[in-house]
Symmetry: C2
Subunit: 462 residues, 2 copies
């Protein structure tokens, strides 16, 4: 295991050159921000946070988080206005305005992807004005623990989680955040020790550094969360709130398998198949009916907004299909820039004309039920009494093809995400069926998504 | 209503000529039986029972039940042997030996279908040696109540129940016996009064003439029976034990509808469609996948034995289909002489190649599960973790066509009725699919069964 980890570390740890570049750009950014800030009447203190600031970034990652700390009594309005202004000035005309809890600026400096985020300088992190105000406190907390040795172990953990597909708190992944990785190493590290411990975790795990509250209390406080890691900076928060059951279980299974057979594939997994031929063969081999819904989404929408809405939309589509008696085997979503895809895999694409319509049991007047259907065009058989003594009509199915149900649902677009609904209004949608989904995936560069979906497999078994 | 009942009665009440013929033949039979019996050392008393004996038989019915009453201490062996001998002699060489609880003789005399059944002459009907010993007691009980006016009302009730398809305690029908009809008229009659009462019955009904036990006690004694009518001759028996929920509910719905609109169609319903064209059109309109399994059964098997075994066989077939993930919409069975049919109507005839195979949850060692499938030919995708944190493989389905499942199940013939199993051993089976079932139904004269199945409808709505 040592050997594997050493090799991996060599590949993932930023080299001196890379570290210098980051340092140079970071310092330049802080200088610039200080300079710009001095033009405003409110005192604003720029602060580097995140993995770049703590030396826990993986080689090749080029993200810098620069926070602009405002006095805690500054009006929200001023913070937003001045924050954006400073951000734009620091960006030298390349600013993209973005919006999470409040507006911030994203830009590109010296090839780094830089977020410039205004926040409040709060003494007590249990009493925040906005969730971003917590980041500087995390910064301080981790800084106090993180030796260079520990930082290396964090790198291993992050890369491991990336490799198994469970890294990232964003709503696309529902995985482990960088801060959570740092805390895990701090608490269970080094990497080997952590993995050993994780391999023994059960269906849920509670970690509380302060241990003032017991497990049960915490499970009540954070219900339905497989992993609870109480934030040492804010005991009212579960750092692992973003971790889905799926990613939690994946981490444990990966840890178990890694303990048995440590290999580089956990960190550097093989890619899924992506050639047209491979994808078409996979579709053939499954013998299912695949539908892909292709949507255009606004360019300025961040993926953390797109993904939950896509998920909601997918859920609604599945619900309508199942109400119409179709069975969905599996499904998936994908989004990038201004394109989004929803995949739905059905057992069968067409149902029989006839469907059962159960009427009242004994004790309830059957006249309205019988009169409604007895002479209707839809009635194929009935009324008759079934084995339970209930009246039944057999009626013609409204829509017997899944594509009709999908089209109708997309036309109505009720129960979709707000932005998805709007973008369908403006740009429409496309339903692609069967092997044609391969060409569509290639068109929007989603071959890896489709290949991953069709050959779905834990990455280290690929 | 009066008018309708009068008209119906005219058609169903045996005319004088018919009554004379029955009387003549009955008396002849009793005489003959007495004469033959005197040759044996045991004293045997012939007795007419059933509807023919009590004048509650419908015009056109030609059934006579002649019971041979043996002393209650006669050995079972003698009863069987002598009973058959007498029966055969009375039959004048046209006897068919049959078997229910014990052997009896069926024959045809003067165009009447005659059952000659040996039984014991028991004083106390709560202490029988065999269930047929009850019949003479029923005879006595009903005789005491039945005026000619009441007999007419019984005829109306029987014909009504025949018309709605709920008459007959035999295991083909699971309906109302003749004796139960007589008791219902005795207790609730005349017909009009009974129908009014029935139209108000709820999901279950308890009738106890003696009223020594309360409703709850009786429901515990006869669980899961929608209608409980305690036998006045044997309080440990529910006369309505044969009545299924379906027929119970059908009777009540018919009564409700008849109260609203009395018409002859309740007694003389229209026939279901039976022409090839109509049957084929019905199959088309349903858009389902129909399978018919055709079987040869031994000639000497009574339908009361065949039907439960067919039902069991059908149930097993449905179970196997559903285990293989096929959904059965509806099904039916039919038997006559030496032919039997099982109809199965499926939503779809073919499933996708891929099926989900869920593995262990967290906390259970996954190695055996993964090792079993990871390199197997059947694995199409996996292992992966699903939303519940469980491991999943997607495997190739063993049999993706319903016909394969049916064939395999019929070849194994496990969980079939004993005689069905034997007859398949000896005679084989045939699986007919789609519109070809029409030709098969015509071949065995089961068009009415098929038409009734395909256009299934309460008869008075036909």
């Amino acid at each position: 295991m040592e050997e594997v980890l050493k090799e991996v570390l060599k590949e993932i740890k930023p080299e001196e050159e890379e570290q210098k570049n980051l340092k140079k750009t970071s310092e330049k950014l802080v200088e610039k921000a200080k300079e710009v800030s001095s033009d405003f009447e409110i005192s604003v203190e720029p602060k580097l946070v995140g993995s770049a600031a703590r030396g826990t970034w993986l080689s090749g990652e080029r993200d810098i988080d620069l926070f602009l700390m405002f006095p805690k009594d500054a009006p929200q309005e001023k913070l937003e206005k001045i924050g954006l202004e400073i951000g734009k000035k620091v960006s030298e005309g390349k600013a993209r305005e973005q919006y999470a809890e409040h507006p911030y600026v994203n830009t590109n400096i010296d090839g780094f992807d830089v977020d410039i985020v205004p926040c409040y300088d709060i003494d007590d992190p249990t009493n925040l004005r906005s969730s971003v105000d917590r980041s500087p406190h995390h910064q301080e907390y981790i800084k106090g623990w993180l030796t260079p040795e520990r930082a290396e172990q964090v790198l291993l953990l992050k890369k491991f989680l990336k490799g198994i597909g469970a890294y990232g708190a964003e709503l696309k992944v529902h995985g482990f955040s960088g801060y959570l990785c740092e805390l895990l190493i701090t608490h269970f590290g080094p990497f080997q020790e952590l993995i050993k411990s994780v391999s023994e975790w059960g269906p849920n795990k509670v970690i509380n550094l302060e241990s003032k509250r017991d497990q049960e209390e915490l499970q009540d406080l954070f219900p339905n969360q497989p992993l609870i890691f109480v934030d040492p900076v804010d005991p009212g928060r579960n750092v692992a709130a973003s971790v889905s059951k799926e990613n939690y279980a994946t981490f444990i299974r990966a840890a178990q398998d890694f303990m048995r057979e440590p290999k580089k594939e956990f960190f550097f997994p093989n890619k899924p198949p992506t050639s047209s031929q491979e994808l078409e063969d996979l579709i053939d081999s499954r013998g299912t009916e695949i539908f892909m819904i292709s949507l255009d989404i606004p360019f300025d929408l961040v993926l953390d907004i797109v993904y939950p809405q896509l998920r909601k939309t997918k859920k609604t589509l599945i619900k309508r299909l199942e109400e119409a008696d179709f069975r969905v085997l599996r499904s998936g979503i994908w989004a990038e820039e201004n394109k989004a895809l929803i995949l739905l895999e059905l057992k069968v694409p067409k149902l029989p004309t006839v469907k059962k319509h159960i009427g009242p049991p004994l004790g309830i007047d059957a006249r309205p039920f019988i009169q409604k259907y007895i002479n209707s065009e839809e009635a194929l058989a009935g009324p008759f009494v079934n084995e339970d003594g209930r009246l039944v009509f057999e009626l013609k199915r409204d829509r017997d093809e899944a594509s009709q149900v999908l089209q109708k649902t997309l036309e109505l677009r009720k129960g979709f995400g707000k932005h998805i609904e709007k973008s369908i209004d403006a740009e429409g949608y496309e339903i692609i069926e069967g092997k044609k989904v391969v060409a569509k995936a290639e068109e929007v560069n989603a071959e890896e998504f489709l290949g991953d979906y069709l050959s779905k497999c834990l990455p280290w078994y690929r």
